[in-house]
């Protein structure tokens, strides 16, 4: 909105400065809890509740304690493995489905697409009980398969990929088709290379979602050797309820990789969120 018409230039600068200050204060308040978490992770036991942001006697003791005295490395490894496998399989399946739904002609295409799209509004808490019963019946409780397979399928990724493929020019595939390439060849050597940008942003989003997911891993794996970091933290918190320095160190270890990814890929992450709202 152009405010300069209503104010003299000097006033406009002041107004804008005030808004910028307001924005800055709000933004600092928003990230403050995260900064505070990191700060306490490096504070000693005695200093935890003192309000200073910079630790007076910074220590790595908490981080070392969490990594050595609690099977946190195991939780980290589990989470990494599950997140990577889910991300790769999901991208593979969703690119295939998105390509077929956008480009190939087959009976029932619109119906199938609508059916897939309608699952977009089904959220995990609503189906957690029946899903658990189903997965138990399949014998996947307390297995990596149980952690991984149900997490792969979501309409959001299929939808975004289909939208992307609808916007690609057809010429490249048609040339390949005339050259006698099969549909798999076209998918593999024409479509996939073309989808690199969207696949990259979806990979970040999927990895992030799986790294941060709690409800499903909590439900499907009671065996602590299969725990992911989020379940580990929740459990750690109830065991060490007074040792906030350890709890914050554990939280920082879990949150830090995602915050680093965010700093590096913030543009891609935020752009893909921005486009996801536009139907």
């Amino acid at each position: 909105m152009n405010s300069s018409v209503f104010f003299a230039p000097r006033q406009a600068t002041i107004v804008r400065g005030v808004w910028m200050a307001v924005t800055l204060v709000l933004a600092l308040m928003t990230i403050f809890p995260l900064v505070y978490m990191v700060s306490i992770a490096f504070k000693g036991q005695t200093e935890v509740f003192s309000p200073n942001l910079v630790p007076k006697a910074p220590t790595f003791g908490n981080v070392i304690y969490v990594l050595t005295e609690v099977p946190f490395l195991r939780y980290l490894a589990n989470t990494f493995f599950v997140s990577v496998v889910v991300t790769v399989l999901a991208l593979w399946f969703h690119t295939m489905a998105g390509y077929a739904l956008a480009r190939l002609r087959f009976p029932g295409r619109e119906t199938i697409f609508l059916a897939i799209f309608s699952t977009f509004l089904v959220s995990l808490p609503v189906i957690i009980v029946p899903l658990f019963i189903l997965v138990r019946w399949m014998g996947m409780l307390n297995t990596y398969a149980g952690l991984i397979v149900p997490a792969i399928f979501n309409a959001f990724g299929i939808f975004l990929l289909r939208q992307y493929y609808l916007s690609l020019p057809r010429e490249l595939e048609e040339a390949a088709l005339i050259d006698g390439a099969g549909y798999w060849r076209i998918y593999w050597s024409v479509i996939l290379p073309l989808s690199r940008p969207i696949v990259a942003s979806l990979a970040i989003l999927f990895f992030l979602a799986n790294w941060n997911s709690f409800l499903w891993p909590l439900t499907v794996a009671s065996d602590s050797s299969l725990w992911v970091v989020q379940v580990g933290i929740a459990n750690f918190k109830s065991q060490y309820s007074a040792s906030w320095n350890y709890i914050m160190a554990a939280s920082t270890i879990v949150a830090a990789p995602m915050l680093v990814i965010f700093v590096i890929f913030q543009r891609q992450i935020m752009e893909s969120i921005k486009t996801s709202g536009l139907k």
Binding site: L34, P107, A234, F262
Partner: protein, 316 residues
């Protein structure tokens, strides 16, 4: 999956296929079905089937070992007579009513604040979005720490202003409000980005023309921005409503921060459902309550679609 025969005959009539052509067409069909097979099967098994189950398992008694016994409406009768069920339903309703409008206002407000593209705003956007990167478990841990009685940061701030003895998570009448506040803080950056996407699509000329006609910023907001943002508003309301009713964020936050307490003040439906299923192995009863949640969600989304004609508005 059903085969759409009408589009098949239309396609056939359109091209009058020669032998070779129909071979190519069959190959395309087969390829397409194979391409969508993994996702379709997965979605049917792990989303569709559970959804169907959610609606029907309620009439069974399911024990911890997975054996089913038909019990008719017993679970629903138990629900009707269970004061905790009604309590949790009420808590969920309050949570939704507090959360959805606050999120809408916070998301739109932030979007308007950082709408201009410049380097300063780019940094501000990232800062508002940053909590999204962190898991709700960690978020819950941090906020529980900040809200600790007496020695927590908020308690100190309150006592600085002469207010003492405030327990943000320990006081039943404050705990739910605190949970809503944390949820807003966590999600507002996400909805800010969605709103920014919507604002970006409004042609600048509208504002330029309005400015020339002498429309004040506030008038421009009500007469240009809000009407043209309707599709975005619809999306935001739909997504935040579904997430709030289902408890997508509430479950993690409450599980870590309050476990539904104090005095069940933060027991939303999903918290109670989870407790019944996974602490007391009352799967049938939990599923019956899930089915109520499914029906409520269907009614609310139906209502939203009805009120907005599927997100389409006749301003154009």
């Amino acid at each position: 999956m059903s085969v759409d025969t009408s589009s098949m005959t239309v396609a056939a009539a359109r091209t009058r296929p020669r032998r070779r052509m129909s071979d190519a067409r069959t190959r395309e069909w087969i390829a397409a079905y194979l391409f969508i097979l993994p996702d379709t099967v997965g979605l049917i098994l792990f989303v569709g089937l559970p959804m169907l189950f959610a609606l029907i398992i309620g009439v069974f008694d399911v024990n911890g070992f997975g054996s089913f016994a038909f019990v008719g409406l017993a679970n629903y009768r138990r629900m009707a007579a269970d004061p905790l069920f009604w309590h949790c339903l009420r808590v969920t309703a309050i949570y939704v009513v507090l959360l959805v409008p606050s999120l809408y206002v916070a998301g739109l407000g932030l979007a308007l604040l950082v709408q201009r593209t410049n380097r300063f705003n780019a940094v501000m956007r990232s800062m508002f979005f940053a909590p999204q990167m962190v898991s709700l478990v960690v978020i819950a841990v941090i906020w529980q720490f900040l809200s600790a009685d007496k020695i927590g940061l908020f308690a100190r701030i309150f006592s600085f202003f002469g207010i003492s003895g405030v327990s943000l998570l320990g006081n039943p009448s404050l705990a739910l409000i605190t949970t809503v506040f944390v949820t807003v803080w966590f999600l507002m950056g996400f909805y800010m980005m969605i709103f920014l996407g919507g604002l970006q699509d409004i042609p600048r000329q509208y504002y330029e023309a309005a400015t020339i006609d002498g429309a004040a910023p506030r008038q421009q907001f009500w007469h240009i921005t809000m009407p043209l943002l309707r599709p975005t508003s619809f999306f935001v309301l739909l997504v935040s409503l579904v997430a709030a009713v289902a408890g997508s964020q509430a479950f993690d936050l409450i599980y870590v921060m309050t476990r539904g307490g104090p005095a069940n003040a933060t027991s939303v439906m999903i918290t109670y459902i989870y407790q019944q299923a996974f602490q007391y192995s009352a799967f049938g009863y939990a599923a019956a309550m899930s089915s109520i949640l499914v029906i409520v969600l269907m009614l609310l989304t139906g209502l939203l679609f009805f009120l907005t004609r599927g997100g389409r508005f006749d301003y154009e």
